[in-house]
Amino acid sequence: MRVFWKRHQLLNHLLLLLGVAFLALPLWLVFASSTHDPGTLIREGMQLGFGGKFQETYYGVLTEKKGFTEQVTAATMMLNSLILGLGFALGKIVVSMTAAYAIVYFRFPLGGALFWVIFTTLLLPLEVRIIPSYKVVADLGMLNSYSGLIIPLIASATGTFYFRQFFRSVPDELLEAAKLDGAGPWKFFIDILLPLSRTMMAALFIIMFVVGWNQYLWPLLMTTDESYNTIVLGIKSVMQNIDGNRLPEYNRGFALAILALVPPVCIVVFFQRWFIKGLLESDK
């Protein structure tokens, strides 16, 4: 009996299946419910099975144009999320890599001081300074713009420390050899360091894309023009409509949630290996 248990490890599998269900079942309910019409949902609650309205709801949500300029659809919002995710990830990588390079490979006056300045940003997450950040962005006239959406989010040093760790693990011999060959700092960076860092860049890109896509508080604060809404924010406006004087359109809200979820989940699953590597590397 003991051997049976051990070989088949039924208890392990059972617990794991429960865990997987715990994670997946709520989303399944949301997805299945999104394919029903609101009346069913109100009468019977959330559904486990499909309701045959998949095409109608999703097509409607993706293409129905709202707003005075009639341009804001779920597709627009997903595009905004994409821009935010890509812009944030790219921006973070460029800015952090260059800053980390400067800190690790150079001795220059101010270097130490700048390192500490960068370090302090780790201490104060955006949530803690949201109102004054908003004020600053407003004063600069950057509200309702992609740059205002992306750039302030880059102000934290997580990426810089990530690359700093990595660069410090690169053997000194490489640099010595390069110097012997007469390579200057720029050449070293482009020809040697960048290729080496490819995997790390990919990993960080994936993580930061997900982080950027999933942003809520900052876009909420600084976009009041609905054409800049990200899909994550779009969920909030649908939910607010639900609480207004109309028939609650739960199905649309759920559809938006699923749309908000699918791209980051796909990326995390397909690029699993890189993404996990990136997470684990950044914990130092």
């Binding site: 005075f68 600069l140 006239g141 109309r246 609650p248």
Partner: protein
């Protein structure tokens, strides 16, 4: 490929030239908080205005809920990018009316640009709310509603009742027990501050705050902790325990849904709610005035408006203000007002529009739509003109907090109201200092 891109740019260029703004039409930005179907009605009105003349191009922009819109306006003003027209709600009225450098009173605007302005054109319940301490109208009332009572006629029939309660005593003694026996929760309501605090005072002609409910100036104190309120809220808690009243939480929709689901037989909502109810309620319902305590007053007075008004922001050119004035003129035309009233359920704010609706027989088909206006037009008292209190959004937060605690059994009504008064007065003092 090149030809294609040439054509595209040519077309784009052409479309730019052909749009009215390229002809030199002055652009006017209007920021509003009307979501969903309401927003579409706003868009229609703007489109109609644009089509009626070619000098000005009005662009409405939805900025989110009332608070978000106000915050957006504030941020824009600080960044010197403020819109021409902004919709500010009742709780934010004090914030903008006292910002003398930021707002251009609508009365001055209209007089200066040759559009007639007579406060008596507006129905009485609406006139005074958005005025400053001298009585000058600063904001133009736009979407106004007032709290009313909806009741499920089927439920009443089942309970053997014909008439809805006129007084709270009537509710307690006759209506609620019968409804409860028939298997319903007798009552729910969707906004404790607006319906059951502010308009409670108005209906009973009790002062909400000193200094003429805040209109007289900034040195104001709130007067919520009074015997009538203590009685009323103690009763609310008692009714909750007895099963006569159920509190479904802060969200408006949750309390309304209970009525639509026929779990609750009487619901207190807004005069504008009947449109949505007509679509979603599968039972006949009636609309009538808010009840009052006969023990407090034998002469109940009018309620006042909730909703929002349109304010003009300072810092724009005379030419642009002329456009704003023209738009306001357009907006207050009886047929435009009637259209807005019909489509949204908000009350018609001018007497002319009200009369037009009556002439068109609108109220014969939709008697529910008239209840709000009728209640607003009831004989008024000195304390039923509305209020103007600073930081009122946060005062309402305090109220929600304390009422939450009352309904979850953590404190009694007397303590709740004392806390509300204390918290509110602290906020009012702070406001007065901030705006000196």
């Amino acid at each position: 490929m090149k030809f294609k891109s040439l054509m595209t740019s040519a077309l784009l260029g052409a479309s730019l030239v052909l749009t009215p703004s390229a002809w030199g039409a002055t652009e006017i930005q209007w920021w509003h908080a009307m979501e969903g179907a309401l927003g579409e009605t706003v868009n229609k009105i703007a489109k109609d205005f644009n089509a009626s003349q070619s000098e000005y191009q009005l662009t409405p922009v939805y900025k989110g809920g009332y608070e978000d819109t106000m915050t957006a306006g504030i941020a824009a003003f600080r960044a010197k990018q403020q819109p021409h027209i902004i919709q500010i709600f009742d709780a934010g009225a004090a914030t903008i009316i006292n910002a003398k450098g930021a707002v251009y009173p609508v009365q001055d605007l209209l007089s200066k640009h040759g559009v007639g302005f007579d406060a008596n054109n507006y129905i009485s319940g609406v006139r005074s709310f958005y005025a400053d301490s001298t009585g000058k109208m600063v904001g133009m009332p736009f979407n106004s509603s007032t709290p009313v009572m909806y009741y499920n006629k089927n439920a009443f029939q089942k309970a053997g009742l014909t008439l809805p309660p006129a007084t709270w005593e009537d509710f307690e003694m006759r209506v609620a027990p019968a409804l409860k026996a028939a298997g319903y929760v007798p009552m729910a309501q969707s906004h404790s501050p607006w319906i059951f605090s502010e308009n409670f005072h108005s209906r009973h002609n009790l002062p909400m705050a000193t200094n003429n409910n805040g209109f007289g100036g900034l040195e104001t104190k709130i007067l919520y902790n009074n015997p009538a309120m203590v009685t009323h809220w103690s009763k609310m808690k008692q009714w909750q325990d007895q099963g006569f009243y159920k509190y479904y939480g802060r969200a408006w929709g949750d309390n309304q849904a209970a009525f639509v689901n026929e779990e609750v037989a009487i619901w207190f909502g807004s005069s504008g709610s009947f449109g949505g109810l007509k679509n979603s309620a599968k039972f006949p319902f009636g609309t009538t005035y808010l009840p009052y305590w006969h023990g407090v007053t034998s002469k109940p007075t009018n309620t006042f408006i909730g909703g929002a008004a349109l304010f003009t922001m300072s810092g724009h050119s005379d030419a642009e203000y002329k456009g704003v004035a023209k738009f306001f003129e357009f907006l207050t035309k009886p047929d435009v007002q009637f259209f807005w009233h019909r489509e949204t359920g908000y009350v018609a704010i001018t007497n002319a529009a009200y009369e037009l609706a009556q002439r068109e027989g609108y109220y014969k088909e939709n008697p529910d739509a008239e209840v709000g206006i009728l209640q607003l037009n009831l004989p008024g008292g000195e304390h039923s003109k509305g209020y103007q209190l600073g930081f009122y959004v946060q005062v309402r937060e305090v109220m929600y907090e304390e009422y939450d605690k009352l309904f979850s059994g953590k404190q009694d009504a007397k303590t709740a109201l004392a806390n509300i008064e204390e918290g509110a007065n602290k906020l009012l003092v702070k406001f007065a200092r901030t705006y000196k």
